[in-house]
Symmetry: C2
């Protein structure tokens, strides 16, 4: 087309002859019910990149079904770009072993599959990246997805995908949106075919090439919890209470507050205390973001926040709220945390995060467990830690007698330069980089300790944690959201 801007060329431009005139363009049939035939028709090549999302979590049946069908056809060397992998995905272990799947790119992995990979079971490598980092690599074409298989709680015959309709509704589909936009081919896999047009659409028909209708995309009870619950553990509750004091001391608990926390018991306790605090002090917040729970939708409906930015729904209350509240907003993983664009996390005041391990420089590991085996990944950890004004790690000093604080974490998931405060049952430590917070906390008369003091106490109780026995074989990388590499992931010793 740009050639047409050259004046001299116009006389040479060929115009269509009548015989070449276009015909009408009726809609093409997209729906198929035969997974075997569809996989053959897609002519997937060896070494393709195939993507899946994790909104169906441990109830997902789509990834296993599709990948096993691909195995049958004898395709090899697949790079599996799954936004997260859960225990249910142990069914693809044989595909790791026989080389159907060669590499894995994910933001979170846990269960037997993670175990096998940690023992060196993957022919290629595993890259663990953040939710925002995943959106970045897809949208900037650092990784080109050949086919995105999008588990769809509902579509119509043209492929308008909605996460709130259908019998296996899971709510927002934030992690699937970049895949929908960028994959060379998009297959919506659904068990609920709805009359055209299906709305509200998370991904619209113009992005969808095929609709595969199967019997069931998932098990409801694995997809969402009926409801998420605050911890009853008194230590967890004490940490949550102290976290509220920390939040108060930051000076950010005022009108316009923006807040994110996870769905763990202690995080929910923080959310619950925050709610009481906001009611008592008549604070009207701006937004809450991330994975959304019923605790946050209650706060939305009580007008404590003006809106929610929802990348995934954690419970049934969140799904119901997304259906009915116009200020409960869907967001893509890119809008959530892609470091190459302007995002919601960059507008976040406070985020509450967990940790498996933390070192004296506040570097956090949530990728591997105390035995060095993969059992997590960044998810939104890196993104929110970087974007928020104050990132707060809440954790007990010991988990099953294993200490939290170490000289060196097994794998660096989130760099300490973006982690601001650690709240434990034995005290609150501020990252020395945050001189502003040290000052605020002093002014608020909030007692703090150094992370060294916490470490010393921890070691006085449980002794110095033993080094994890790792082999010297690198099996993967812990990637930072911007694409730089934070750490190697080593195989564990057999």
């Amino acid at each position: 087309m740009m050639n047409y801007f050259n004046k001299e060329n116009l006389n040479d431009v060929k115009i269509l002859d009548k015989s070449e005139y276009p015909s009408k363009s009726p809609a093409k049939e997209k729906v198929s019910k035969d997974v075997e035939k569809l996989i053959k028709d897609l002519k997937i090549k060896d070494n393709s990149v195939l993507s899946f999302h994790h909104h169906l979590r441990n109830g997902d049946k789509v990834l296993n079904l599709v990948m096993k069908e691909i195995q049958k056809v004898g395709i090899e060397g697949i790079t599996l770009m799954a936004s997260s992998l859960f225990p249910v995905h142990k069914e693809i272990i044989p595909l790791i072993k026989d080389g159907t799947i060669e590499n894995i790119v994910t933001s979170y992995i846990t269960g037997e599959l993670a175990d096998v990979i940690s023992r060196g079971g993957l022919k290629g490598n595993i890259i663990v990246q953040s939710h925002g980092g995943r959106a970045r690599t897809i949208l900037n074409e650092e990784i080109e997805i050949d086919i995105a298989f999008i588990a769809s709680p509902s579509t119509d015959n043209m492929g308008n995908i909605s996460g709130v309709n259908g019998r296996n509704s899971c709510g927002a589909l934030g992690y699937a949106m970049a895949d929908g936009i960028k994959a060379k081919k998009v297959v919506a896999v659904t068990d609920s075919l709805i009359e055209y047009p299906n709305y509200p659409a998370d991904i619209t028909e113009d992005y969808v090439d095929n609709v595969l209708l199967i019997e069931s995309i998932g098990l409801k009870e694995g997809i969402v919890s009926g409801t998420t619950r605050v911890t009853k553990d008194p230590i967890g509750l004490k940490i949550a209470k102290d976290t509220l004091k920390v939040m108060e001391a930051t000076g950010l608990l005022k009108d316009g507050l923006s807040f994110q926390s996870g769905a763990g018991g202690t995080s929910l306790a923080v959310t619950s205390y925050l709610k009481d605090y906001m009611i008592k002090n008549n604070i009207k917040g701006s937004f809450a973001s991330g994975g959304i729970t019923g605790y946050l939708t209650d706060m939305l409906e009580e007008d404590l926040f003006t809106s929610l930015f929802d990348v995934q729904c954690f419970d049934l209350e969140a799904i119901e709220s997304l259906k009915k509240n116009p200020n409960h907003l869907r967001m893509s993983a890119s809008q959530y945390g892609n470091p190459e664009v302007s995002t919601v996390v960059d507008n976040l005041d406070i985020v509450i995060l967990g940790a498996t391990e933390i070192d004296r420089n506040f570097n956090v590991n949530v990728t591997t467990g105390s035995d060095g085996v993969l059992m997590g990944g960044s998810g939104g950890h890196q993104d929110t830690a970087a974007g928020s004004k104050v990132s707060i790690i809440v954790s007990k000093l010991f988990s099953s007698r294993i200490p939290l604080i170490k000289d060196k974490v097994d794998v660096i998931t989130t760099p300490g330069s973006t982690v601001d405060v650690l709240v434990t049952e034995r005290g609150i430590a501020i990252n020395p980089l945050r001189k502003d917070l040290i000052k605020s906390f002093e002014e608020a008369n909030l007692k703090t300790v150094t992370i060294e003091e916490l470490k010393k106490y921890s070691e006085s109780i449980m002794g110095k944690p033993k080094d994890i026995k790792k082999s010297d074989r690198i099996i993967g990388l812990s990637e930072y959201r911007d694409g730089s590499i934070l750490d190697y992931i080593y195989a564990v010793e057999e």
Copy 2:
């Protein structure tokens, strides 16, 4: 990143040194109030491609403001990618003359600016393309937009753009979406800065680089009509009545009907007759699409359609409906009619379209007037004609004593191979290509004539239309939605 999939390379991968650890990433300030400074800061180069949308129609102040500021800086050779250009844009005529603007790509152009261009006033060329074709060229990167200046009825400080909020609300922003996604830089130009987050967002913050706050983006009365009105002209009403008979004869007036018509008086009369017909016959349609009027929102609210696909709102009723009706859906121009993807037009049963000229092969001109001067363009004409099961042209045989039917239309806008029926006050002509329709109409005892008969009648009244005096200087091209070229556009003789 793909290098990381090579097992051997992992040991060589450089991991970040502690000294290189990232810092926090707080949100950057995007808002500026100084258009002069912003234009300088953007460092726009000569020969850049700049895009604008036309949702503010003849009330738009943004294009003139921005382009005049660019002229001041002395930038030359701009390709102006404006989704449509209206009489209000005559203010940029001096920029055509002095070479600030060299080429124009648009879907519709009318007014003094069109006149100047038709007289050879543009240094470069003008490409007239359809709405769907525009989305195609942007999304497939055939044209790369350097900066999209998006007139925004409202944004927040992070650039979440909503067309329904703000004092100059215009409703859906379907024509700006591809620009928002693909432009190298996106500047939201607004006169209503709203508290974060602004929702529902047509374009989200992750796509927006700058927010320019100005006094006024437009004149409300030029943006939308208070309400759109059915024609009172008895000839127009007769044509509309006959069009309903045509629609009935197609067999498509039944449950599940999908329908589109424009906002012209005759088209609205067809919509109005259709409404009565659907009520009387208890028909529940599927969707109506395109530019949306109060006539269609009434039909939505009376449950005659399950949903509306809205690419732009034509009147205040449409904007109000978009705000409150969850089944009144926004659509992008790509979802509407991009020929490279699956679209709404391809699911359309019937579309009602106009014509300035039509030839015996049903080729339609809506790009130039009877004097050969630019006064329109495809808009959605090509897209809906191609996608719909039946495309119906409604037109009087004469407009200001100028005949509709010619041996050869001045510029082919829409190829006759996609145009199915012509309804005039002197009879209904079916495109001979549509043998199926000829049969249906016979079965329905609907009397038709040939287009030759209509032409003969027309010439018996007004004589053979004179040839338009055109120079042999090609000034532009009439592009088909798929990128092929339908026709040259010649300068008119001085």
